[in-house]
Every structure is written in structure tokens, then in C-alpha cells.
């Protein structure tokens, strides 16, 4: 279970392990559970998927993430044998994901239909306004408590 400092990179074997052992035979089709685009203002989403057949077998999975339909220069993500993956810190815009199953000897199935995760962060005006309001309320709270405490300690505000 020790993962240590291994950093997943695009050069790694499909499915996340160099030996990529797993069920034999052609890997089945995989599809994301979300069919419609996933819209998020927070820059994160949970991707989950289902295997078309031989569901109980120990398939591993490979996910590609890209900004373009052709998946050129795609980032590779390896969820191992898990059936879900939380992705976060996504950049603004449409992020595309596709997935395939990986079996014994690195045999791979077909790529799924891409899933769109559309990130639309809140605008600067709203964010900076609310952040500024937060600063003001924070300062007012601290000043009120400390000023009150000073009066309390000095005995000016009897209790």
C-alpha cells in the first residue's frame, strides 16, 4: 500500500502499475455515470464510472483529461482499480475527460465518450466585494470584542 513519492506521470503504464496485472481477455467498455456536462463554480467534480460487463473483476482504469476534443496533449490520471475519482483545481473553461479499462499485460479497452466538466468560477467583482465585506466584518468584530474587554477590565462597563 505504500505509495511513497511516486508521482504519476504521462509516461507511466496504463492503469497505474508497471506490471499492470489484471483480468485476462479484452477489457470491457466503460462509461461515466454522468452523461450530461457537469457544471461547477468551484472547480472540482467527482467522476464515477461503470463497467459494461464482467463488472466484478479487478479492472484498472486510465483517464485522460484535455481541453480539446482530439485529446492532444492530454494529462493522464490513474485511478487504479477505484470506480470514482475526485478532480479539483480545474482551470476555467470546458475540461474533457475520457476513460478506458486496462486488463492483464496492459491490454486496453476502447475510450469512453468524453465527459465535459464545465468550470465557471465566480466573477472577480463578486469575489472581491464579498472578500472586502468579510474584512470589514472581521475588523468590526475584533474591535468590538477588544474594546468591550478593555472596558470590562478597567471596570468602566460594570458587570
Amino acid at each position: 500500500m505504500l505509495i511513497g513519492c511516486t508521482v504519476v506521470s504521462g509516461q507511466e503504464q496504463p492503469g497505474g502499475g508497471p506490471e499492470a496485472v489484471g483480468p485476462t481477455g479484452p477489457p470491457p467498455a466503460v462509461r461515466f455515470d454522468d452523461r450530461e456536462p457537469v457544471n461547477t463554480r468551484e472547480g472540482h467534480a467527482t467522476l464515477s464510472w461503470t463497467v459494461a460487463d464482467r463488472e466484478d473483476e479487478d479492472w484498472r482504469f486510465e483517464i485522460q483529461q484535455s481541453f480539446d476534443e482530439g485529446f492532444d496533449n492530454a494529462e493522464i490520471r490513474n485511478p487504479g482499480g477505484d470506480r470514482a475519482m475526485f478532480v479539483s483545481g480545474l482551470p476555467d473553461g470546458t475540461n474533457l475527460f475520457r476513460i478506458r479499462a486496462v486488463g492483464a499485460g496492459g491490454a486496453t479497452g476502447d475510450w469512453s465518450e468524453p465527459l465535459r466538466v464545465v468550470v465557471d468560477y465566480h466573477g472577480r467583482w463578486l469575489v472581491l466585494t464579498l472578500f472586502g465585506v468579510g474584512c470589514l466584518v472581521f475588523v468590526a468584530t475584533v474591535v468590538t470584542v477588544l474594546a468591550g474587554h478593555r472596558r470590562h477590565v478597567s471596570g468602566k462597563e460594570a458587570g
Partner: protein, 478 residues
């Protein structure tokens, strides 16, 4: 949880650890419970808690299962800003320190935060305050019991229902036997275990990662997590801070500790607890940030902390995480059970239903309420709700709206009841609108802001002099 294909510990190990610590807490509860001779002993530990126990109980109570799960989740979702946002919850302890000293002086014989609101603002504000407080306390209890079930399931493969049930059962039992004596005593031991465990995990993780590599991987795969302008994280920063203020300033968990501490102790104890607590979410958050750089898949964001710790540290790490989680769950659930039962026994039973209740009746009622709270929490938790944040943060605007009625009530002689009621109603309403229209990460901020404006304006426009002596109910009655 089908997404998790494997767990680090076996179910047997999980049950063994639960058994050992469960029996330990119950035995200590019975041992300390012998000190609780009367209602004041049971509810407020004889009002004689010193600095070490006082600081430890406040710190341990504030390290909840939510800290272990949500602090790494905040970092995973919102990056460095998210990690800092969670740590701002310690500011609530810092600010409550001076408030606790005044609370202790204004209400030398007080029992609950409800006592203060009733005497300061009257029955309408009191009723509203109790509603907010019960809703929040139940949300907190439920979120922790659920978190316990989920965590134990992920760490040991134990069924969610079993883990959640055992944790609740153990906490109900020892709180029942020992009241606040048991809660504070066990909190002291639990706080030491939590601190040692978090430091150990943090140190080991930091020795196994390369900070440069982490930065490079985050920049490539999760750029939003290290950006200065991360919109949702910037919004969460003050939202989380005010949620923490609202939780601490209004809730009887903290007021009961202020009442339980010896004269002169509360201020130092709460300051120390804030200092001890501050690094914990930073360390836990860092662990969450390491998930992707370490190549660890996170199927469920709620689980990122325990998952990374147990995968990096192996079986020994999972055992440490399991024990830390159990301690943090127990230290918060017991406090909530005790403080909420005090609130119901004092504010509802004694003040509304049976003002002539005698010592024995009050004690019986307190124990029944603790059992009742445990059963209700268990029933709500059985159908597992998927997102912990949504459960807890729904209470955010409500507690945010209570911040200013409490602060003004403690320090401003001219704050008036109508202003307090309007602040809680408008703050909660507008905060909930923000929750649904913008997102959970603005609800407490908006609720607190509206509450501040309403209390400030109503105090300025319709000042009403208040005699502080009215808060000392025992003296006023004699």
C-alpha cells in the same frame, strides 16, 4: 462505500481498537462520574476546572472528526487558501477568550448560553436562539456520527452502520455516567492523543514528500489549488471564519466550559486552546494537498486525509489515524451531548415545563435527554447522506446570524431585544438565500454581515439601557 476497493486495516483490527478505547472511555466515565454528586457537578463539573484541563477540553472539542476530514478536503478542493480558511476557525477561540471572562463575571451562577439570551433579550429572542442552537447542535452531532461511520468504514472495511453505532453508543454511555466531569477528563487524554497523532503523521508525510515536486505536480494537474485568485477559496476564507465565530460564540458547548472553569481561568484556557488548535488544520490540510502529487486516487473528497495518511504510512499509520479519529469523534460528540442536554434540561424542562423541578428530577431528565439525543442522532445517521459539508454548512447562516446578538449583548449596554431578534431572523434568511443563490461558501459571511448591520443600526436608532445585574439571576431573585 463501493468506490473504495480496499481498506488498510482488517475489520477485526477495527473492532479491537474500538473495543479497547470504548471500554477505556466508559471506565473513565464511571470513575470520574463518582465526583458528580449534584446537578451542578454533573452539568458543570463543580465550576472548578483549572487551566490545563480547561485548555485541553476546549482544544479537543474543537478538533472534531470534521477537522480530520474537512481540513484536508478544504485543501483538496480549494488549495492553499482552503487550508488557511479552515485554520481561521481558531480565531473564534481567540476571541471567545476575553468574552468567556466577561460571561463568567456577568453570570456567576449561569448554566447555559440560553440563560444569557433569556435574561438579556427576553423570551422571543430566547425561543429563536434555542431553535438555532438545537438545529446547529443536531447538524454537528449528525455530521460527526456520520463522519465516524464513513471513516471507520474506509480505514477498516467495517460496515458504516456498525462504526457509527459503536461510536455513538460509547459516547452516550460515558457521558451518561460522568456528565461534564467525564467529558472534560476524557477530553484531556484525547487531546494528548490527537496532538501526538497529528504531529506524527505530519512529520512522517513531510519527510516522504518533495515540496518542489508537489508544487510542480499541482501546477500541472491542479493549477487552481496554488493560485492566488482562487474564487471559491477567497469566498470561503471569511465564510469559514464567521461560521467558526458563530459556532463558538452561541453554542452551549463553549458557554458550559466558561461556566465550568474557575474564576480567572477561561481567558487563558481559550487562548491556549486556540494556539494548540491552529496548526492542526494546517497539518491536516497539507496532507490533503499531497494526494495528487503522491499519485493517490481520491474517490471521495471527504476521505482524502485518512486515505493519504494511511497509504503513506501503511498499516501503522492507519492504526494511528483510526485512534486519532476515534478520539476526535469522542471528544466532540460527548461535549455536544452534555452541552445540548444541559440546554434542553435547563432552558426547556426547568424554565418552560417544570420550574419547581428538584435535584433528582433534573438529574433524571438530563440522563434521559442524553439517551434521547443519542437515539435521534442514530436514526438520522442510518440513511447515510453523501456530502458532509452540505449537512453542516446548512447551519452556517443560522449561527452566523447569532454572532452579533451575542457580542452586543455581552458588551453593549444599549443593545435591544428587537434588534437581536431582527438580526437572527434577517441574518438567517438572507444567509440562506446566499447559500442557495451563490453557494454554501458565502452563507455564514452574509448571515454575519446582515446580523452586524441590523444590531448596529437598531442599537443606534432605538437604544435601550440594560442593567447588567439582571443577568445574575440568583442575586436578582434574592
Amino acid at each position: 462505500m463501493d468506490e473504495f476497493r480496499t481498506s488498510v486495516l482488517t475489520q477485526q483490527t477495527g473492532f479491537l481498537l474500538l473495543g479497547i478505547f470504548g471500554v477505556l472511555w466508559i471506565a473513565l466515565g464511571i470513575y470520574w462520574g463518582r465526583k458528580a454528586k449534584d446537578t451542578e457537578g454533573f452539568m458543570l463539573a463543580g465550576r472548578n476546572v483549572g487551566l490545563a484541563l480547561g485548555a485541553a477540553t476546549a482544544m479537543a472539542t474543537w478538533v472534531t472528526s470534521n477537522t480530520i476530514m474537512l481540513a484536508p478536503k478544504f485543501a483538496l478542493q480549494m488549495g492553499i487558501w482552503g487550508m488557511l480558511a479552515y485554520a481561521t476557525a481558531s480565531f473564534g477561540l481567540f476571541l471567545f477568550a476575553p468574552m468567556a471572562s466577561r460571561i463568567r463575571r456577568l453570570l456567576p451562577k449561569g448554566y447555559t448560553s440560553g440563560d444569557f439570551i433569556r435574561l438579556r433579550y427576553g423570551r422571543v429572542a430566547w425561543g429563536l436562539f434555542l431553535l438555532i442552537s438545537f438545529f446547529y447542535s443536531m447538524a454537528w452531532l449528525v455530521s460527526m456520527a456520520m463522519a465516524g461511520g464513513i471513516l471507520l468504514n474506509a480505514l477498516s472495511g467495517m460496515r458504516y452502520e456498525y462504526g457509527m453505532t459503536v461510536i455513538l453508543f460509547v459516547c452516550v454511555l460515558y457521558t451518561l455516567f460522568g456528565g461534564l466531569y467525564a467529558v472534560i477528563g476524557t477530553d484531556f487524554i484525547q487531546s494528548l492523543i490527537i496532538l501526538a497523532g497529528v504531529v506524527l503523521v505530519g512529520v512522517v508525510v513531510i519527510t516522504r514528500v518533495d515540496l518542489g515536486e508537489i508544487h510542480a505536480t499541482l501546477a500541472a494537474k491542479q493549477p487552481g489549488l496554488i493560485q492566488v485568485f482562487m474564487p471559491v477559496a477567497l469566498l470561503s476564507f471569511f465564510n469559514n471564519m464567521f461560521f467558526g465565530f458563530g459556532e463558538i460564540f452561541h453554542n452551549n458547548v463553549w458557554w458550559s466550559r466558561a461556566f465550568a472553569m474557575r474564576e480567572g481561568v477561561p481567558q487563558k484556557a481559550f487562548l491556549l486552546s486556540g494556539l494548540f488548535w491552529f496548526p492542526i488544520p494546517i497539518a491536516a490540510g497539507f496532507i490533503g494537498l499531497c494526494a495528487a502529487p503522491l499519485g493517490i486516487n481520491v474517490p471521495d473528497a471527504d476521505m482524502v486525509g485518512p486515505l493519504v495518511a494511511s497509504k503513506v504510512l501503511g498499516t501503522a499509520g492507519a492504526v494511528v489515524v483510526f485512534i486519532v479519529v476515534f478520539c476526535s469523534l469522542a471528544s466532540s460528540i460527548d461535549s455536544l451531548l452534555a452541552a445540548t442536554s444541559d440546554l434542553i434540561a435547563q432552558d426547556v424542562y426547568r424554565k418552560m415545563l417544570n420550574p419547581w423541578a428538584e435535584e433528582a428530577q433534573m438529574r433524571r431528565m438530563a440522563t434521559r435527554i442524553i439517551v434521547g439525543l443519542g437515539v435521534v442522532t442514530w436514526l438520522i445517521c442510518l440513511p447515510r447522506i453523501s456530502d458532509l459539508l452540505s449537512v453542516l454548512f446548512f447551519a452556517g447562516p443560522l449561527v452566523g446570524s447569532a454572532i452579533w446578538p451575542v457580542i452586543a449583548g455581552i458588551y453593549w449596554r444599549r443593545a435591544n431585544p428587537a434588534g437581536a431578534v431582527a438580526a437572527m431572523v434577517l441574518g438567517s434568511t438572507v444567509g440562506l438565500i446566499a447559500y442557495f443563490q451563490i453557494g454554501w461558501y458565502t452563507a455564514s459571511l452574509v448571515g454575519a454581515t446582515v446580523s452586524m448591520v441590523v444590531v448596529g443600526l437598531t442599537t443606534l436608532l432605538w437604544p435601550r439601557e440594560f442593567d447588567w445585574k439582571k443577568l445574575n439571576e440568583a442575586e436578582a431573585a434574592s
